[in-house]
């Protein structure tokens, strides 16, 4: 018997042109075009939104939670932390 279950698509939305797309959740859909429509109904009706991306969940390559060594810090690397100087959120590039 053929599998008629819809696939899942991960949804990313953007609230302002130029901002990064943020992950907001997932939808079931038969194909990418319908996934965009489902995502619009699910995530873009109340929140302000200027763009949506959908990605088939199976196209995402992810790390495994079991493999903790992937993120292990075995020696003291605190010297790498920029904690001695605060970084402003503001873009300073057009000052001076």
């Amino acid at each position: 018997m053929t599998d008629t279950q819809w696939e899942t698509y991960e949804v990313f939305h953007q609230t302002k042109k130029g901002d990064p797309h943020m992950y907001v959740g997932s939808v079931h859909a038969p194909d990418p075009e319908m996934a965009l429509q489902m995502a619009r109904d699910q995530f873009a009706r109340r929140l302000k939104c200027v763009s949506i991306w959908v990605v088939n969940s199976k196209d995402i390559t992810a790390t495994d939670y079991q493999n903790e060594d992937f993120f292990a810090q075995v020696t003291d690397k605190s010297y790498r932390d920029p904690k001695a100087f605060g970084a402003p959120d503001k873009d300073l590039s057009d000052e001076h």
Partner: protein, 266 residues
């Protein structure tokens, strides 16, 4: 704000025509809303609920125009009229059954909306043209959704095809009833309010026939040199307030809360 109609327009006919637009949206919005919490898949539950809210919103737009012309508020028109005073088509009043029926009904209705609203852009009645421009933006997405489902479900699996075909066999004669002539249709056409239901029906058939056929669905329509003939009897009567008991039950439901405390402010 109250507005006056130009003298060239047959006032009573225009008013009834606007009511028929509002009543169609109200009843289909109610039927779509009945899927909330009951759709076969969560995403469709939310999509149908969204569409239902949009259709109810569109009914409010038309009832508000009616209020500007008559002083009668939208709540009175939606909640205080008797079930057999509504002038909606029968098509939008029938109960939901298989989800396929609602998909097909929504699709056939959405295509009719495209045809109707596009023709209103050319209306001699300025308000009709302005409202149409606004509603078309939202309707385009209803159509994208319902058409997308029809195209995919029409020939996806043996079961989806069988259920879509059964739904279409039931819905098609009912949908033709959307184009039942309205009172004083000649007067409305002469005043260039709209091009008349026969013109709209032909435009509608031009849109739905290829989509349904390409989705492997059979329809009782044949075309020759741009004109269409069909072998089924359109399910008419609604515009003359000749409804079935289904509308009585729908209106009972729709007005139930309002009738508990008539005139209550929300």
């Amino acid at each position: 704000m109250s507005i006056e109609l130009p003298f060239s327009h047959p006032r009573e006919s225009v008013l009834k025509f606007i009511l028929s637009l509002a009543d169609d949206e109200l009843m289909l919005g109610h039927r779509d809303a009945e899927w909330t919490g009951h759709s076969p898949i969560l995403e469709e539950d939310i999509a149908f609920s969204n569409i239902a809210q949009d259709e109810l919103g569109h009914s409010l737009v038309w009832y508000t125009l009616y209020e500007q012309l008559t002083g009668k508020p939208p709540d009175a028109m939606a909640f205080e009229r008797k079930w057999n005073d509504f002038v909606c088509s029968r098509f939008v009043t029938y109960p939901n059954g298989d989800f396929a029926y609602s998909v097909v009904r929504q699709y056939l209705f959405d295509e009719a909306e495209q045809v109707k609203l596009s023709s209103f852009r050319e209306s001699s009645l300025q308000q009709l043209s302005e409202i149409a421009g606004k509603l078309l933006r939202e309707e385009a997405y209803h159509l994208l959704h319902s058409k997308g489902l029809v195209e995919r479900l029409g020939d996806a699996t043996e079961e989806s095809h069988r259920r879509m075909q059964a739904a279409l066999d039931e819905a098609f004669p009912q949908a033709l009833g959307m184009f039942e002539r309205v009172d004083d249709e000649e007067g409305l056409v002469k005043a260039a309010v709209f091009p008349g239901n026969n013109v709209l029906k032909t435009e509608w058939l031009k849109r739905v026939v290829p989509v349904l056929t390409n989705s492997a669905l059979r329809i009782p329509v044949s075309s020759k040199n741009g004109s269409f003939t069909y072998t089924v009897q359109p399910d008419e009567g609604g515009r003359k307030r000749n409804h079935t008991q289904h509308l009585r039950r729908l209106v009972d439901d729709l007005q139930q809360v309002y009738r508990l405390v008539p005139g209550a402010k929300w």
